[in-house]
Symmetry: C2
Subunit: 151 residues, 2 copies
DNA sequence: CTCAACTTGAGTAACTCAGTTAAGTTATCA
DNA sequence: TGATAACTTAACTGAGTTACTCAAGTTGAG
């Protein structure tokens, strides 16, 4: 039950692009240095985000990357689905990538206990991440309350 | 962002044991057949659950496995943490296995945007799974509402 | 004292993750 | 127009994980 580095780097890269939204292009090297992401790996990530229509790139000496959708309209859920695949913890409760379980004794029945529990989890994750926008991410400052939980 | 087969099988095995709680021992072969779990793999899972104090086993001809904690006191969260490790989607928001991010530019600061979002997710997952008990799992019948979502 | 069960550890094929390498293509500016 | 600094694309790799399988035990009821 983990998100990949790809998603984490992707979010941090988009955060950087959000901070310069409508201002200027950022070179991958610049993003990589500021967010401490290996540049060649970052490349792959930006490419995927480009194919998904979230960022655009310009080549040449004054080239670079820019966010092309308003930060308010891009959610963390969008980003993670592009880079990590569906949010659902098991395929049989996925909304975007449903797959029937093979070899599950409940697959042919009208209910499944595990599906029941996992469905709730999926809904909760999706509800949070599909409402968490890049602009909110960019606004986050000192945390108070439940984060920084150290233990 | 996936739970492993191990967790899924583990839950289904415990479900089977829940149905015979305080009644009789179940042989691994019996559990494996009814829940369609490869017996040798199931073995490993039951062993882990035994070490975690959830089940007990008897050897010999009339041996088998039994749940030793009341189904009402065992949660899906417990089980998944035993079989899959911490629930948190990234280590820096884990309550049970916190680890500082290496090489994150925010690691030394007093806030982190990604941590913020992921912390919410962790709390939501934990809240659901730490309240979902085996007895509830065993009671689940025909689903109505948000499950069986097919798409 | 045997046989059916559990116990333990080691092994493995397939896959995924987190990058790296290399060989391009484009666009700007001198 | 040509050097150069950027992006583009695909192939490759080493380490680790997943989902098992195999083999050689140990235990205890009958």
């Amino acid at each position: 039950m983990k998100f990949s580095k790809k998603s984490e780097y992707g979010l941090r890269a988009l955060l950087e692009l959000t901070l310069h939204y409508n201002q200027r292009l950022l070179r991958r090297h610049e993003i990589g240095k500021r967010q401490r992401i290996p540049v060649e790996f970052l490349e792959q990530i930006l490419l995927a985000l480009k194919r998904a229509g979230l960022v655009a790139s310009h080549r040449g000496v004054r080239g670079g990357y820019a966010l092309i959708k308003p930060p308010r309209e891009v959610t963390v859920g969008n980003v993670i689905r592009v880079l990590d695949g569906p949010l659902a913890p098991i395929a049989c409760v996925s909304v975007t990538a449903y797959q029937k379980c093979r070899d599950c004794p409940y697959a042919t029945k009208s209910y499944c206990p595990v599906q029941d529990a996992m469905g709730e989890v999926r809904d909760a994750i999706a509800h949070i991440l599909d409402h968490y926008t890049l602009s909110r991410l960019a606004r986050s400052k000192k945390v108070g309350g439940s984060s920084r939980r150290h233990e």
